[in-house]
Symmetry: C2
Subunit: 146 residues, 2 copies
């Protein structure tokens, strides 16, 4: 059971933006801090901008910041669409379904119920829950003095 | 969010054995029925035999059958160990953890809670729940007349 790197990186990006909510943060900074490819992060940022989770400002002094307060961005709403292309098993929508028993398989429904329970938990937590009162995280992600 | 093929195939194997619980079923039959590699199924069968979920009888007329009634084999107990090597995100035990914020990250705990909710649902269903009263499945998996 594995989440995509997209979801993992998107959540790290949002935590970083939440800790540094007083300024515009560049993608280069996030890429360096987490040792993640800048290209990969740019694609994720585009997705988050399109979903109105993140704002971007072009040019010198620009960068990314949260488009909403961190307590109004929930982990589930980030993970669900980013995981949409990653099918739990091949018979799920979007999968290369070649399973003989699909028409009569009750396992599909059980797995769907389990997946819903997984996202229900993620819906209960906001980005603010992850960073609030977390001084260790703040120290790790704060702006590095020039 | 993706399960491993191992879990998918193990559950298909167990449903097939449950539908055909009156006889020993060969791995070749399961491989043909689901169009899955025989080698892959042999490894899964070995794991299930070691876990005392499946019995095997060598030689002519032999094969596999459930080691317990289908209502005493739950989906969660099959999925959990087969998914153990597939880490949800890289900071989970067994992952190639290179994430800077691991020491102070609260997301880990949230993901662990969500994963537990996923398996809790799977623990509520047995193989018997998947095949019982399912005539469509029985028709698809019944022995083919010689």
């Amino acid at each position: 059971m594995r989440l995509t790197a997209q979801t993992d990186y998107a959540l790290r990006m949002l935590m970083h933006l939440a800790v540094n909510s007083d300024r515009w943060v560049t993608i280069s900074e996030i890429a360096e801090r987490f040792d993640i490819s800048k290209n990969h992060l740019m694609k994720i940022a585009q997705t988050l901008v399109a979903r109105k989770v993140v704002q971007s400002l072009r040019g010198r002094g620009g960068g990314l910041r949260l488009a909403r307060p961190a307590n109004a961005i929930h982990v589930g709403e980030i993970a669900r669409p980013l995981e949409a292309a990653s099918v739990l098993v091949e018979c799920f929508p979007g999968g290369a379904n070649e399973c003989l028993i699909t028409p009569s398989c009750k396992l599909k429904g059980v797995l769907r119920e389990a997946q819903a329970a997984f996202y229900d938990v993620l819906d209960q937590y906001s980005i603010a829950d992850l960073v609030g009162g977390n001084q260790g995280l703040e120290a790790l992600l704060a702006e590095v003095a020039a």
